[in-house]
């Protein structure tokens, strides 16, 4: 019997060591948990939705804990806020935050009289005034970015290269074709041609008084331009005006971009 006990001594020692370590860990963890509990509850942001498009000012609504009396924001400027009377579960707040152009991540923290909560974050995009189309590609030459907008949210944003100052990328409304195989490594794996709508005169023949008479009318057609969205063999050029008018992207982004767009998707290029 004593021999069996002696053989189990290492196991017993290990078990004791494990129990000791657990006790120490619990003692260390208790103050941390306690301090976390001391914080005010994190606000819940209901609006705007993630990656929403906004125009200089964001109207935020959400819920905070019942004892919250103040809010503060990071990433933007809090202009006004209101906290409605609280019930047992919390209170509803509304806040207006002014943001700058481009991408902004707003952090919202709540004060419950003793401490600030951790920040609830929401990323929004201010891209100025854009058409209220459900889906479009927006190329912004001023900040070398291409945005894919869907249902008034930005679902992707990629840095691009645009035309040099002597060969600028034209602005306006275009339509994006499906990719065609790139004939040259300069354009990366493939390229997608941009079309534009132009009025075209077309003729047709009508029979008048026993004679064939040619008549003309105008139709709006999509016509191919010489500009493409394509990849590159010069990754360093992205983020600068470097092309001869086309829009360049990193090849990895181009492959994802292809999957997020469809034939003749509305593409707006603006200065």
């Amino acid at each position: 019997m004593s021999a069996r006990l002696r053989s189990r001594q290492p196991l017993v020692a290990l078990a004791l060591a494990f129990a000791f370590a657990c006790a120490i860990a619990t003692l260390v963890a208790i103050p941390v948990t306690a301090s976390a509990l001391d914080l005010a509850p994190v606000p819940t942001i209901l609006k705007p939705k993630p990656s929403a498009l906004v125009t200089s000012t964001v109207k935020m609504t959400g819920r905070v804990g019942p004892l919250v009396t103040d809010l503060r924001v990071t990433g933007g400027t809090l202009t006004t806020f209101t906290i409605l009377p609280a019930d047992s579960e919390g209170a509803t707040f509304t806040a207006e935050v002014s943001v700058r152009y481009g991408r902004t991540t707003i952090g919202l923290e709540a004060w419950d009289g003793s401490s600030w909560s951790e920040a609830a974050t929401r990323t929004v995009w201010d891209l100025g005034t854009i058409p209220r189309d459900k889906r479009l590609v927006l190329v912004d030459k001023s900040d070398y970015m291409l945005y894919i907008v869907r249902f008034h949210s930005v679902i992707a944003a990629y840095p691009i290269a645009i035309g040099m100052r002597g060969t600028p990328t034209p602005t306006g409304t275009r339509y994006l074709a499906r990719p065609s195989t790139s004939p040259n490594a300069v354009w990366g794996p493939f390229r997608m041609r941009l079309y534009k709508k132009v009025w075209v005169r077309v003729s047709y023949i009508v029979r008048v008084g026993g004679r064939n008479v040619r008549r003309w009318h105008r139709v709006l057609r999509k016509v191919a331009t010489s500009y493409y969205i394509h990849g590159t063999n010069d990754p360093d050029s992205i983020g600068t005006p470097a092309s001869h008018g086309c829009i360049r992207m990193w090849n990895k982004n181009l492959r994802v971009f292809k999957g997020l767009t469809y034939r003749y998707q509305l593409t707006i290029i603006r200065a």
């Binding site: 070398y144 002597g166 060969t167 001869h244």
Partner: protein, 170 residues
């Protein structure tokens, strides 16, 4: 007999040696010089004919034509030999009418009058130019630019140092 063979090979040996030693020195020597902000490189200027500007920059160059730009022609000149970064020391672009509209400088050997070149730190750049340059932050690079439409200089800064310099006109 041995002497005659030696003399026979002496002249080709000297010529080949001279060629091997001279070609790199010529190609590298040709792309050193002064950047004139908003104007050009050395005596090469924006707006001049490319056949005038190319010899002024110096060194060997390659010329290529790009006709894909809206059915217009753009001429691209690459000066010197390819560097370890995969770039050429100097690139020059001209329109179909051969008027130069852009110089791109990727080599450290080309320096502005106040000593700024590719590789200069961002802080040194801002201290040297002060309020003469404006800043524009992009998704990849930070652009410090100066000048007007007829002659603009862009210092493209990446990771705190100048990555390349562009002199261009609209």
């Amino acid at each position: 007999m041995n002497m005659s063979i030696g003399r026979r090979w002496l002249l080709p040996f000297v010529l080949v040696s001279a060629l091997v030693l001279c070609v790199p020195s010529v190609s590298f020597a040709g792309i050193k010089g002064r950047i004139v902000e908003g104007v050009g490189i050395k005596t090469a200027k924006l707006g001049l004919h490319d056949s005038t500007d190319a010899p002024r920059i110096g060194g060997p160059y390659k010329r290529a034509k790009d006709t894909s730009y809206a059915n217009q022609t753009v001429w691209r000149y690459r000066f010197g030999s390819k560097m370890s970064t995969g770039k050429y020391p100097v690139e020059m672009y001209s329109h179909g009418n051969h008027h130069v509209f852009t110089f791109v400088i990727n080599a450290k050997a080309l320096v502005t009058s106040n000593g700024t070149h590719v590789g200069t730190s961002e802080s040194a750049l801002t201290s040297r130019y002060g309020s003469r340059i404006k800043k524009s932050v992009g998704p990849v690079y930070t652009d410090y630019f100066m000048g007007t439409r007829s002659g603009r200089t862009d210092f493209w800064v990446l990771n705190g140092v100048i990555h390349h310099i562009v002199i261009s006109r609209y």
